[in-house]
């Protein structure tokens, strides 16, 4: 018999999840291959970007912020600090173009793949100074994520 969960239970759970993420930390990587974000996506489906100057944004022990979107009624979880510039830039000359299709969050300590997303359109990296920007929202939880 499925029970309809209360707001208390959802909030309790998300706060616990936030704590787990703090312990695990996370890394943000960009993907240079086309992939389809889905529940079953694994790291084997991803080819990390490797253009000159590229490196994953890694944070260990950093807190996330959980806030309630009072307008939409959903819970939003995002890192509570900014990456250097939310942008990965080419730091030197590159020998050929590299197309960036999306990005992903994975556990910093565990390496577990948490979530993936595609850019609105693939971004071609051509030369020094080109960059790829990505939003910082990690996950959004609607009221119906737990019923």
């Amino acid at each position: 018999m499925d029970f309809v969960s209360s707001t208390f239970l959802k909030t309790e759970l998300l706060v616990a999840y936030e704590g787990l993420l703090v312990i695990d930390g996370f890394a943000v990587n960009m993907a240079q291959n086309a992939f389809a974000p889905q529940l079953g996506t694994t790291l084997a489906d991803i080819t990390y970007a490797n253009f000159v100057g590229y490196f994953p944004r890694v944070a260990l022990g950093q807190a996330f912020t959980l806030f309630r979107d009072t307008e939409g009624g959903s819970y939003v979880l995002k890192p509570n600090f900014e990456f250097s510039n939310e942008e990965v830039e080419v730091a030197g000359a590159i020998t050929g173009p590299q197309t960036i299709f999306g990005w992903l969050y994975q556990g910093g300590a565990s390496g577990t793949l948490f979530c993936t997303a595609l850019l609105p359109s693939p971004k071609e990296i051509l030369a020094q100074g080109d960059g790829v920007q990505f939003p910082q929202t990690f996950l959004t939880f609607s009221d119906s994520f737990l019923v």
């Binding site: 018999m1 029970f3 707001t7 208390f8 974000p37 959004t140």
Partner: protein, 150 residues
């Protein structure tokens, strides 16, 4: 973003082991029956329910500690299920006091009776009016919806 199964695995395990709600080491939650119609929703409060009081009725305490996690074989959704206590979730009628009584559903509350964790309706109200009748809840389960996280 699109979460992976791993997110749901972790969430379900966290909830099943959450000492602040479903899995305390002592004073576990209790399952109650309501003799008042209600609408299950996330904003339910104790005042939304009127506890059954037919002869033989008593709220049932859950088992302390970690609860169960599982995967629905039909949908793949992650589940958290309260361990079934000895004797099951059974509420027998042992006398005719306070009968007939219609039972509309069940709700799970903390031991102190101040916080609702969840509620569910029976398909239709059950009328208790005979000694030996039993209201039985097959399981107390919470379900994670894939579409609810993005």
């Amino acid at each position: 973003m699109q979460p992976t199964f791993e997110v749901f695995n972790r969430l379900s395990l966290l909830l099943a082991q959450d000492t602040g709600s479903l899995a305390p080491a002592a004073n576990p939650p209790k399952l109650h029956l309501s003799k008042q119609a209600f609408t299950p929703n996330q904003n339910n409060v104790p005042a939304d329910f009127l506890e059954a009081n037919y002869a033989g009725y008593a709220a049932i305490a859950c088992i302390v500690g970690n609860q169960l996690v599982g995967i629905d074989p039909l949908t793949g959704e992650r589940l958290v299920e309260m361990k079934i206590p000895a004797g099951g979730w059974r509420f027998p009628c042992t006398g005719l006091g306070n009968t007939p009584q219609d039972i509309f559903g069940a709700y799970l509350m903390n031991d102190a009776g101040t916080i609702i964790y969840g509620a569910a309706l029976f398909e239709s109200p059950l009328t208790i009016d005979t000694i030996g009748q039993v209201v039985e809840v097959d399981s107390v389960r919470f379900r994670f919806r894939f579409s609810g996280i993005y």
